[in-house]
């Protein structure tokens, strides 16, 4: 489902967080949002998820304004995948994934056969079906992130919003998780993902959205817009973009020069 954001402005107690953001994300695209801490990425995501009231401008998902949609209706269109953290409540993986289906249930309903089926399907998609009966506190951080993604798939929404899905993950797990994100975009999901690593954008994103001081300063394919000057502008750090020819193609990466 396409996301369309037009002239989005938001201020919080006199401070302008978003100062007119415009962009579109199409079905099948993995859009990576870059920007330093406090650039407005989280606020932007909250607006798209309908969690933030009081913004100006338009946020449309699949052609409807998020402010006109009910919670339930919104949940059927857009799912949120937070950073994985150490859980206090040790649910089984199955129960954790099942929670994604709650939007389809009535107030007093519990998940039934149909919901269990879609949870099983989601776990299968992410290769964690053998973990179904484990506790979420007992699996690795990478697996926990996959559980959160599976939960979003069980929610059955076409748009996935990911808040730094690779935070707190080790090097191997970062790539493992991102590979799944990429695969989901190829399957037709619209994926909007914030990341702190330009290399992740090079490797996995179709599109880069650079956010600075509440404005979009670059919007395009990583090859086109993600260069040394953009990294300098975003992070205030001098870096060099290099190309490495490998057997799977030419891969770009960043080397910091400071």
């Amino acid at each position: 489902m396409p996301i369309e954001v037009k002239n989005l402005k938001f201020s919080y107690s006199g401070h302008d967080v978003l100062k007119g953001v415009d962009f579109r994300a199409e079905k099948g695209e993995l859009v990576s949002v870059l920007g330093c801490n406090g650039a407005g990425k989280s606020t932007l995501f909250r607006c798209i998820l309908g969690l933030q009231q009081g913004f100006r401008g338009d946020v449309n998902i699949d052609g409807s304004d998020v402010r006109t949609l009910s919670r339930k209706c919104l949940a059927s269109r857009v799912a949120y995948i937070p950073q994985s953290s150490e859980p206090t409540f040790n649910y089984t993986v199955m129960d954790a994934v099942l929670m994604g289906t709650t939007g389809t249930l009535g107030m007093t309903e519990s998940p039934g056969k149909k919901q269990i089926e879609s949870a099983r399907y989601a776990m299968h998609e992410l290769g964690i079906e053998d973990k179904a009966d484990r506790g979420v506190a007992q699996i690795s951080g990478g697996e926990r992130q996959l559980v959160l993604i599976a939960r979003a798939l069980a929610q059955n929404a076409g748009t996935l919003i990911m808040d730094e899905p690779t935070a707190n993950l080790d090097y191997g797990n970062q790539h493992h998780v991102l590979k799944f994100c990429r695969r989901l975009a190829e399957k037709g999901y619209t994926v909007l993902m914030s990341t702190h690593n330009p290399e992740h954008s090079f490797r996995y994103a179709n599109k880069v959205l650079a956010l600075k001081n509440g404005r979009i300063i670059a919007d395009g394919t990583p090859e086109k817009v993600l260069d040394e000057s953009l990294i300098e502008k975003l992070y205030g750090i001098h870096a060099r973009v290099t190309e490495t020819v490998t057997e799977i193609g030419t891969i770009r990466s960043c080397i910091t020069m400071d």
Binding site: R46, L49, A75, F89, M99, G103, T108, D133, G135
Partner: protein, 359 residues
Amino acid sequence: MRPGAGVLRQQMKETMDERQKKNNTGLKMAILALAFLLIFAVSCTQGRYVISMEDFWRMLASRFAEMPQTWPESAETVLFSIRLPRVAAAAIIGAALSLAGVSYQGMFRNPMVSPDILGASTGAGFGAALSILLGMGYFVISAAAFAFGLAAVFLAYFISRLAKTEHTLAMILSGMMISSLFSAGTSFVKLVADTQDQLPAITYWLMGSLASIKMQDVGFVLIPVMIGTVPLLAMRWRMNLLTLGEDEAESMGINTRSYRAVVVFCATLLTAASVSVSGMIGWVGLVIPHFCRMIFGYDYRILVPSSLLFGASFLMTVDDISRITTTSEIPLGILTAFVGTPIFVYLLLGGGKRNADRS
């Protein structure tokens, strides 16, 4: 090996695992229910006046069907006007406090939270102390305790709604404020109370006891407890989502604000009603949910009904100890702490990790 065979075997194993898991939960639940019934029967028959098991069941049945009277008159008096009200009250209050505890713990995303977190108990304590000071009768004391318990929580809740900080944090903070305000109030009442009879009465009330429970008290506590229990029981799946935090739950299609209000309302009703007839009974709401998590895991679909049964069984047992072991009864508030503290220390030091894998 054919590639299909492995997959098939895997699937078969999975469905078998699942069936086994379900059976396990069902079996554990059945044992718990059986234990509840057994404890109920033993509690009703044992005491200073022992009733035989046979007479007990016959007397119970005689209330629903025509039965020839084969038991002594005194047994009937003891059972229906003294023992049954007390045992029933213990069961209802134990269940209510456990449910309130497990609900608050989910809502505050903190398994160390107890039902008095928002000030229900201290509010009730103040209400009771005040009405004892004013020389009120038993019924007014209970009613005032109930009303002040509710008032304390709603005060805390509304203050937190006005606060600009994160909602659950604001609630915990304003709960603490209101709690300490009411306990200061209680201290003041104790200070000015007559030391001959009022002060001991207040002190005993605050320690918690079921010694003076009558059948009408059971009715008094049962109605609010039912009103509080039914919604929580009906919406128990959604409680799982509340433990995830606001943004996540909202993004999955839940209106957390209204749901949280329902939970606060129901859990407060449960706590205030319980405390108003029994006085302060700590620990039940904190410890029982932990027990249930160790046995049944974290899913609120099972946690809610098991907490009800476990809490009821626990408080009946503790009350039995209170009235059977010593002639001068040990207040429940003291006994539950004696039993609860070692358990809690054990949990805190890592015993809870036993529930590591539920598979």
